[in-house]
């Protein structure tokens, strides 16, 4: 379902509880993408909400890295990318905390933008993460997948 990544660029995936430094991630990618003129990042942040006390992220450790690497490789097979980086946190986060980021580097901006959106669309619906919201009144609720997230995959025209 995913092709091998034919790129010589740098592709990396990291999953864990620790916070990350978006600036350091970008600087490290910049250093490895000579020739690329465009670098796009997306960063997901826990939305501030008076009633939310924590966002808990569960994952499937045996599967997560492979699923993310496969999504990155698929993007690399589709666009001429000099680099891809995916960082995703797991565990208990608070409002305003960073959740994850993706970065894509390419020669032209359109490719870098499209690849970043592709990564996000697949990561939302095809990587084994689940979010649970904990509220101030002691209740908790598993975040439900949104129909529009599943629908977003449709525009990439692949059934994976």
């Amino acid at each position: 379902m995913f092709g091998d990544n034919p790129q010589a660029g740098t592709f990396s995936v990291r999953v864990g509880p620790a916070d990350f430094d978006p600036g350091r991630e970008v600087a490290s990618l910049e250093a490895k993408i000579a020739g690329a003129g465009a670098l796009v990042t997306f960063q997901g942040i826990v939305r501030g909400d008076a009633t939310l006390v924590a966002l808990e992220i569960e994952h499937y450790p045996a599967m997560t890295d492979a699923a993310l690497s496969e999504i990155a490789a698929h993007a690399g097979a589709r666009w001429p990318l000099a680099g891809v980086r995916i960082v995703h946190r797991v565990g208990r986060l608070g409002a305003g905390d960073r959740i994850m980021m993706v970065a894509t580097a390419s020669r032209h901006r359109r490719e870098a933008f499209e690849a970043a959106e592709f990564l996000m669309d697949y990561l939302k619906s095809r990587a084994p993460f689940w979010k649970k919201e904990h509220f101030a009144d002691g209740t908790a609720r598993w975040v439900e997948a949104r129909d529009e997230d599943e629908a977003a995959l449709g525009r990439w025209g692949a059934d994976i």
Binding site: G44, I57, E58, H59, Y60, A62, M63, A66, A67, H88, I99, M100, M120, L123, K124, S125, R126, A127, P128, F129, W130, K131, K132, W142, V143, E144, A145, E150
Partner: protein, 83 residues
């Protein structure tokens, strides 16, 4: 055959454990689901609406008719909500 079966998110919570070894002769994932659902109400509750449950076999997303021959691990979980 003996399989490792693992559960995540509300599937895990409803069944009440993260995973277990299961002895089964079911030919497909769907057959395994039927066997599990027949065990106890907590399994039946987890598997009552299979349109809300996703399946991975040996860490790859797959469908309910996927065969179990040669499989080592089956995972059940709700639609993913990463990002």
């Amino acid at each position: 055959m003996k399989l490792r079966v693992v559960y995540f998110a509300w599937v895990r919570e409803r069944i009440g454990l993260p995973g277990e070894d299961v002895e089964t002769q079911a030919p497909t994932v769907a057959g395994l689901v039927d066997e599990l659902a027949a065990r106890e109400p907590r399994y039946a509750a987890a598997f009552q609406d299979m349109t809300a449950v996703r399946v991975a076999v040996d860490q790859r997303l797959t469908v309910l008719d996927a065969p179990l021959a040669g499989v080592r691990e089956v995972a059940f979980f709700p639609p993913m909500t990463g990002g």
